[in-house]
Symmetry: C2
Subunit: 476 residues, 2 copies
Amino acid sequence: MAKGITKRSVDYSRWYLDVIAAAQMADYGPVKGCMVIRPTGYAIWEAMQSELDAMFKETGHVNAYFPLLIPESFLQKEAEHVEGFAPECAVVTHGGGKKLEERVVIRPTSETVIWSMYKNWIQSYRDLPLLINQWANVVRWEMRTRLFLRTMEFLWQEGHTAHATYDEAEEETLKILGIYKNFAEEYMAMPVLTGLKTEKERFAGAVKTYAIEAMMQDRRALQAGTSHNLGQNFAKAFDVTFQTENGKLEHVWATSWGVSTRLIGGLIMTHSDDNGLVVPPRLAPVQVAIVPIWRSDDEKTAVLERLHAITADWQGKIRFKLDDRDNYRPGWKFNEWEKQGVPIRLEMGPKDLASEELVMVKRHSGEKERIPQSAVYEKVNEALEQVQQELFERALAHREKNSHYVDSYSELKERLKDEGGFYYVHWNGKRESEDKLQEETKATIRVIPSDQPEENGQCIFTGEASSRRVVVAKAY
Amino acid sequence: MAKGITKRSVDYSRWYLDVIAAAQMADYGPVKGCMVIRPTGYAIWEAMQSELDAMFKETGHVNAYFPLLIPESFLQKEAEHVEGFAPECAVVTHGGGKKLEERVVIRPTSETVIWSMYKNWIQSYRDLPLLINQWANVVRWEMRTRLFLRTMEFLWQEGHTAHATYDEAEEETLKILGIYKNFAEEYMAMPVLTGLKTEKERFAGAVKTYAIEAMMQDRRALQAGTSHNLGQNFAKAFDVTFQTENGKLEHVWATSWGVSTRLIGGLIMTHSDDNGLVVPPRLAPVQVAIVPIWRSDDEKTAVLERLHAITADWQGKIRFKLDDRDNYRPGWKFNEWEKQGVPIRLEMGPKDLASEELVMVKRHSGEKERIPQSAVYEKVNEALEQVQQELFERALAHREKNSHYVDSYSELKERLKDEGGFYYVHWNGKRESEDKLQEETKATIRVIPSDQPEENGQCIFTGEASSRRVVVAKAY
């Protein structure tokens, strides 16, 4: 067991916090529930931002920035929205030494302020679609926080688009859901279910909420991103209309969608192990840590010289760190890079000079291999690809193993007690059943899965006819 | 005169806002003094971020993220700091529907929260230097705001570094000042003076504040970036000590430094003209706008085909937009790209197909040129370089023309009334003279310039001996 990291089997929650502490990813700040994202954690966020931002731009979105502060009265313009968010708001009552005439809140999300601006920006069908995203911080007053997963302030991107028809808005909502799934699976190596949320779990103010849901190692679900079709709710609340091609005046159709620093929590809990963090290669700020071994200055010179030669043209191709620090020993360095989740470690000492080989160690499996120095670049690239793939497959196998079809509520309750996991059950849409489920088991309906085939069955709660299964799980 | 843009000679302040509106760069949001940065403006900020971020990383800095919310009591730990910032704070008194036990403020700057964390992160000389930057929003309750130049919330980067000695901190402070100067001149094409601020103008809590100062077209000064040597002030306020190599316990030495979205205001006021925005090529989100001209569908096909062939391998090399929109006429498009400050416009119509030429127009000079289609890529690249250079030289010539040596206070007062400009005057360091200057002329000492030679003279305020000149100007 790595020093300072509790085993998952002993205390999963403690393990999660230990992994974060060991990698120096985050800390709590002085205000309760507020998080400091330290350089190691932030570098992963930067890698995520960079990939997602490119995907948004490729699909025609542009970035902008809307104010942090929103008049409290704005929230009230959309009935469901205020109900969902007002209780979570941080309220500014004083500014510049004076009591404010109107209270303002720190954005918990930006629909209201953005649609108050769209009112001025949208007049005609020519102004549509409007495809805007912003990278920002938001504040939601949470009582029970957990680093990355639920914090009072978090960083996210929030897309807010405006369209001429319901169908276009729905198409956008699904396009983004697809981007989120692709990002989660291809970059984070985190398999996700996609699907619709039930009315109970819907975003406050949305017509439809879609989500990506992942299974963590403790078999709980993590909602990792949401994409909302907002219908005309916000356009009506802020009276945003446009002139159609036929000269009619209609309310605009809207979507909003977001992923946050919560993704980092998902990444940690999908891949990490009892030795600490494991980062998938495509998002790893450092993909390869190279640890030279020497006992004398001559050896140091010779080893470093060889390593410089080997990595001479890696810049811009592989993100690597040659750890030539004098004041730390190789063993300490091995441990350090392991805790930080660096996918590949290379070790080279004086003996390897003669044999013209070096040692490559894979973080996720511990697998060691001697590889020829003449082929390091190829071997490392191959290994990075392979690790990315294996991490995804391992996580997928875990989810498959822990996904079950269950046909009675008593069995579901029993299994949820000790097992965790995803349960595919028939539910015929009644809100009361959903409330009962949550009350009695603390589990919720995570999604009505997109790819689930129609199937005749009986609702496990009411015994009534049901046409398809939904996914039930305990969630973060 | 461009439609909707007031001439500079008529009303400079109005012109500035008109340029922003015409390019759709920014708007005010619903809370007084808060700014919405629209996509055109934000894309320039993204370009600035990307270049600056690379410069910080090249010099060993890493990014992190610290909380938005700071306990009000933290500000009070550094005596000067609280005096400077407390009156400008937005105060959160309620959260989650309840009155808070301790009031928290929205960060006006992050020294206090960061040094409260550094206390835990720094123990030994091995932990130093700590070179951290963050990209964030801050709020300062301003009464008189102006888009980009002074807004209640703004975006910025703030670097916060920790060092083992005063000299290292001073070296860091100057290194960053150099980066800022380089960025302003090489990327923004905005010449800047560098120098030390007087004690009166120093950052609240700093030992030394250095700044870059630019001259706008109305001959006012704009402080465009600051770099502070904080001495041990914050380390003492938060009791941050480290063990030296000799085993002694000492307080840590600190710097902080920042540039903000104010830079966008500086960019606008340095280069733009009565036709709207002018963006220097290195920061232009779109460097080349290509406007095809056609009257029939056949012509359209032929012209677009040729343009696609010409630009086939530009991707990733030149940031260009081929404006093939059907619902707008060429004249409208010319105007549109002009208002957005795109450095180069290319026009090609049916007649140009035969002659195998096209027209290149430079935004900053209006200069038109026919260029052979076979050499567009080379010509455009050359032009982009040349425009970048010319913008800098034009701005530098403007500053030189409006910089004056003045040796009497009465002359200074007279000239400040009608002329504006930078005035190099002898001042022997008395705070009273500085206060009088500001009271009587509204001008301030902008910097004690870094590159100003020693020179014996008489202080223009007191007649006392003075060893060098400082720069006086009215400022934004």
